[in-house]
């Protein structure tokens, strides 16, 4: 049936646009390829220990939790867009929804299935601020599909919300306006061999580190589950390079790197954290961005990007890096390395922009929207943005879309 606005992509920008549209009296459908609408912040963890470090992870998720109960909002998760057609002033989109194996309205959020599931990562419980607020079964890992017929979760579920026979289905949506908010895709650093991602288990990307912290509440080494005593945070991985990455600066990794460093330093004063960066491109003045260091001893910040990560004789990670000032090469031994990876446009953004005939720049970012045909673009699919900026942009574009649909003032 006819909706006012269709938001493609439920990340910070999509959620912000949806919230603004709902408060301006429009009904919204949010289509997202992930199991939960909420985007990358759903996998990120809070970086604050006592004081808030303003990483803005909770801002879009709280907004999603606020708009979740409203009836004028419809969320279609795990949907991959098949075709987009513009007939007259109606935009028709049909998408294929892959099976979730859980009926969201039946789930009462009691959490017993998440406790009962034997395989780590098979049953993904809904994090705070995810829409729909029901778990999702990862078909590759779930023992029901891979090996024996295990249905621990179905046995425990009080409302029989599990339905393993679910098939993927079609969904057709028509709307009078579309907001493209497909966001960014993390850059895979394994293309850059000298960081050793994929070779050494304790070299993790920032997203892996976030998943570990969100799951266990603290950072643990994937190799043996212990807390790392000495770790390095390497900035600009995959960004600002011409070999194995993107040429532009991904803008959010500096803000992210400093906050994950602060979280690790403040939560475990006994572990040593080294922060290796090229340029500090945070948005506050430099003094404010580094004011939290004070006289903490277990934090070292050095300008000079890590050149090489190897396994040292003692089984630790040996990281070669340029040092400040005298531009020599130094090597340090670390238990763990967190690669602060950048972001690049998703393949779906390129396909979608082609469908909607939106102009794209050299890197695949959408460079302009088309208000006449009521097609808008919000968030980091226009250019690298951090969570806060894409949230503001989402609100702005949401209001613009509502204005073009005629808001009664």
């Amino acid at each position: 049936m006819m909706r006012d606005v269709l938001v493609i992509g439920g990340g910070p920008a999509g959620i912000a646009a949806a919230e603004t549209l709902l408060s301006l009296g429009k009904n919204v459908t949010v289509v997202d390829s992930a199991p939960f609408a909420g985007g990358v912040p759903l996998e990120l963890s809070c970086k604050g220990d006592i004081e808030c470090t303003r990483c803005h992870v909770c801002m879009p998720r709280d907004a999603a939790a606020r708009i979740r109960p409203s009836e004028c909002l419809e969320v279609v998760p795990m949907a991959s867009i098949q075709s987009v057609a513009i007939e007259g002033d109606v935009i028709k989109v049909n998408a294929k929804i892959s099976p979730r194996y859980v009926k969201p309205d039946a789930c009462i959020g009691c959490g017993k299935c998440a406790a009962a599931c034997p395989v780590v990562g098979a049953l993904v419980a809904p994090p705070h601020g995810s829409i729909p607020n029901a778990p999702y079964v990862n078909r590759e890992l779930c023992a029901h599909f891979t090996s024996k017929k295990c249905n621990e979760c179905a046995k425990v579920c009080p409302t029989q919300a599990f339905n393993f026979k679910e098939r993927s289905k079609e969904s057709r949506t028509e709307a009078r306006a579309v907001i493209v908010a497909t966001g960014l895709e993390p850059i895979d650093p394994s293309a850059v061999q000298h960081y050793g991602y994929g070779l050494y288990p304790d070299v993790v990307t920032s997203l892996d580190a976030e998943r570990i912290i969100s799951k266990y509440g603290e950072l643990r080494k994937p190799s043996d589950g212990q807390k790392p005593k000495k770790l390095a945070i390497i900035q600009c991985v995959g960004s600002r390079t011409t070999k194995g990455g993107v040429e532009y600066c991904s803008k959010f990794c500096c803000k992210y790197g400093l906050r994950i460093a602060r979280a690790l330093v403040e939560r475990s004063p006994d572990s040593q954290v080294d922060f290796l960066y090229m340029d500090l491109r945070t948005f506050e003045p430099r003094a404010d961005a580094l004011s939290w260091i004070g006289d903490k001893k277990n934090f070292m910040i050095s300008q000079g990007v890590a050149a090489k990560v190897q396994m040292s004789a003692a089984g630790k990670l040996a990281i070669k890096r340029t040092t400040q000032g005298d531009a020599s090469i130094e090597e340090g031994e670390y238990d763990m390395a967190v690669l602060s990876i950048g972001g690049q446009p998703r393949p779906e953004t390129k396909v979608l922009a082609a469908h909607l005939s939106l102009p794209q720049d050299g890197f695949g970012f959408i460079s302009a929207d088309d208000a006449k045909r009521r097609i808008f673009v919000a968030g980091s699919c226009k250019g690298p943005m951090d969570i806060e900026e894409s949230f503001s942009d989402g609100q702005a574009v949401g209001a613009r879309a509502a204005a073009c649909l005629g808001v009664r003032q």
Binding site: P69, G109, C110, C249, E284, E389, A403, Q409
Partner: protein, 520 residues
Amino acid sequence: MSGNKVCIILSDCQSCSGLSNEDMNRMLGALKGGAKAAHALIVKAPCIKESRKEIRTLHIEGCDRAVVGMWCHPEKIGALNWLPKKMSPSLIEVVDLSIFAAKSTKCSSQVDKYVRVLHASAAGLAHAEALKDRKIPFASKSVVVIGSNDRAKDAAKSLASKGIHAKLISMEPMPGVNAENLEVIDGATTEGLKGIPGDFRIAYSRKGQRKETDAASILLVSERCLSKAVPPKDSKVKVVPLEQFRNYSAGGAKVKGMAFLDDLQTLTTAADPVTPAWHTLLEAAKTAAANHMADYISVIARDVKAAGLLEMLWKEAADAGVKFIRYDDKSRPKISKEDSTISVKDLVLGESLDIPADVIVAPITTRPWEPMFIERLFLPSDWDLKSRLRGPQRGTAQSPCDGIFMVGYAGFNKLLDIAEPELDSAVAQISAFMQKGCHVARGAVAVIEEGKCSACLTCVRTCPYRAAIMNESWKAEIIADKCAGCGNCVAVCPSLAIELKNCTRPQIGAQVAASTEVVQ
């Protein structure tokens, strides 16, 4: 303890609670047993339509309030219009017992814990009183934008284009700004603010007269950031502010060396850092290189903050011949007095260089951020500092008071490039706020007991919403329409003169006692 008016309603969702029938009856017996509730009964699961109707028309004589024990989050059932009609909504407490259930072990061993949780809620609810939130329609239809920079102008214009009557109050004259339903009050300084969201009264003084205007919502737009960077006088170097580089570059003669600085503070002893707009700095450097305004063009910066796609602009400037030099905090660049060069120790190359710099272009922001600006405007007195440290709890531009939005340096101390989307988002939030059309004054507010106040001003200083003020008879008074019911004033008052409705001291004491009691 007058616990007799409370009735505990337990929903017998067998499957969701994991309790067998006789567990449920044992629990009902324990609930009746405690002296906390006058009445306890079991109802069918509220997720079934008929049972919702039945609960709606429930009548329990002698009980005007109820604790409803449920086994899933109320949001799953949808709107809470199925609760007993005869009881005031503020006297019904819905408890989600699934939070307390042990996720893996057998549930029947949990009955005592559930009973204790319900008893604690009942003990607290016994002292509650019926409250109602009041909807106060907006008295004014206009929005006041305060700021004397072109971002404030854009904000006011875009609000006016959205059909909202906008008033722009700016300190500096704003010639030639006229649009349909936009009223410009320039050359005015704001004096103070009173009123509640939707009905603000802003006092301002213009040409010596003190006037007042009404507003439903306020947008504070401040672009300037604090800077006392004074260019060095005794050297022969010419300093061009970055903001005026465009008209300088039109007529500027060719010089031997031109240096762009990220922060003039490095050459002077100014305390506060300047946050330059890197987009304008890189554009200026590129145009300088493009029309050969100097033989040696350099950008001297602590960090080259060309974030995002600006990196491409940096690459273009570098290809056009601009040299980028990074210095360290400890070894700052210095202007030599005799010839016009800047000596700086390059961080990457490691040795110190003498950069020819007949002309220095640096961001020198002129108008300082006015601390008094915030003090007069309803926000807590030390808010101007705190506003920069505010967390994301209310989104990007929202201040603690509904209806007041802050953008640019008023919001976060961010680089000016970021203020663009933030401004549009603030305008979006204002149009959403105006769409609401009414301000909800909470029922559960703090109330000051007559005569107990010793006028110590602590609540006035503490209240984040500026709802506590001193009235004419020099006693504290809490404006009920502004209070958000956080209770911080209740805890700081030295004379225990303030009490928060439905969260009073006896209620918390009763809940603490009930939860530490051993259930038989």
